[in-house]
């Protein structure tokens, strides 16, 4: 019936509807309703041109506001987007260091040095790392300050013994400045720790 009123029925089907409605009062009424009601409804709710004009103005002015706000947001660089990148970098770096051969697991001294380096650069990351690696950084900072200040790239010499290098017996030849920087007490403390199996 709806298709008939819309004019979307094929001619043969439309003729069937017409012949049926001639004999069926209910369907004939429905047909009249389908033709009349939409027109009556439309006449009632047609908005006034003034209303449409005013509303159009309001919509477009709001749209322009949105465009301005959008361009304002893109004008200045929003540094907040760097936060997740920075966090990801810290995590990646921590992962890299923890997996790097030579620092872990066979060389506990190297591990402490790495953790200490972290502490110098970024105390928070170092603290987190110390917890993960089980290295007490408060001690390591005290122990290795002189060593780090002297030369981080050189093999670490403590009490005539080379630490953190491929062999503990590759002692540097004489004038290692780290010897000068560490006090006797520091050496004793380190040796004591090595004896305890803490860093060694």
């Amino acid at each position: 019936m709806v298709d008939y009123v819309d004019g979307s029925l094929a001619d043969s089907d439309a003729r069937l509807v017409e012949s049926h409605c001639r004999d069926c009062a209910g369907c004939a009424d429905a047909l009249v309703a389908l033709r009349e009601v939409p027109g009556l409804l439309c006449a009632e709710v047609a908005p006034s041109p003034e209303l449409l004009m005013r509303q159009r103005k309001e919509i477009l002015s709001a749209v322009e506001g949105l465009i301005r706000a959008e361009s304002g947001r893109t004008d200045g660089f929003d540094f907040r987007i760097l936060l997740p990148i920075a966090a990801a970098l810290v995590i990646a770096l921590a992962g890299l260091i923890s997996l790097r051969p030579g620092w872990y697991p066979e060389d506990g001294v190297g591990l402490a040095r790495a953790a200490f380096l972290f502490e110098m650069e970024d105390p928070q990351s170092a603290a987190a790392m110390s917890e993960i690696l089980g290295v007490p950084l408060v001690l390591s900072e005290r122990f290795w300050r002189g060593v780090v200040d002297a030369d981080l790239s050189a093999p670490l010499a403590v009490g005539g013994m080379s630490l953190g290098s491929s062999s503990a017996h590759d002692a540097p030849s004489g004038d290692d400045s780290s010897d000068d920087d560490l006090s006797d007490d520091d050496f004793m403390e380190i040796e004591e720790l090595l004896g305890m199996g803490f860093v060694g």
């Binding site: 009424d29 009601v37 439309c42 047609a46 477009l60």
Partner: protein, 173 residues
């Protein structure tokens, strides 16, 4: 110019292209929304919100349905949200209303506010029939698009429309 071209123009920053889309669908959308809500001011507001939401989400418009169907869908969602809010408010408010006032007002909530003419009858239709008849009559959407908006089959939309129109004519006569 077709809708897709206007949408592309809007996305390239041509605000006047969006203005053409507003001109094209604003009247039908207002008539549709007005048939769904009792308050004319709320209807104006919903139309405005629908266009602004459409503008904000234009990049997400995939073109599966027409822009007209899309914006009607946005408006229907907004109408339903407001209707739910209204229901909630009236449920809360009823506890604060005195007994005498409750006895005096026992009509259907839709009838509480005076409607002009046929609007009153549309408000008495079940929600689906009200939507279908409004989308068809005021927005001139094809039944296929109405079915998509309502999440029903095209035949179900036609049957719903038929029943609604019959009811309306019965109430009017």
């Amino acid at each position: 110019m077709d809708d897709l071209r206007l949408i592309r123009g809007t996305l390239r920053g041509r605000c006047e292209d969006f203005g053409v889309l507003v001109d094209r669908y604003q009247g039908a959308l207002y008539a549709f929304v007005r048939s769904q809500l009792r308050d004319p001011a709320a209807a104006e507001d919903v139309v405005q919100v629908a266009f602004l939401r459409a503008f904000s989400g234009l990049r997400a418009f995939r073109g599966d349905a027409s822009f007209k169907t899309w914006i009607h869908q946005i408006a229907i969602n907004e109408c339903r949200a407001r209707y739910r809010d209204e229901q909630r408010r009236s449920e809360i408010a009823i506890e604060d209303v005195g007994e005498a006032a409750l006895c005096a007002d026992q009509h259907d909530p839709v009838d509480r506010v005076e409607h002009a003419g046929l609007h009153r009858w549309i408000g008495r239709l079940p929600p689906r029939q009200r939507s279908v008849v409004s989308l068809r009559v005021f927005s001139d959407l094809p039944f296929g698009e109405i079915a998509r908006i309502e999440g029903i089959s095209e035949n179900a939309a036609k049957v719903s429309y038929h029943h609604a129109v019959k009811k309306l004519r019965g109430w009017m006569s």
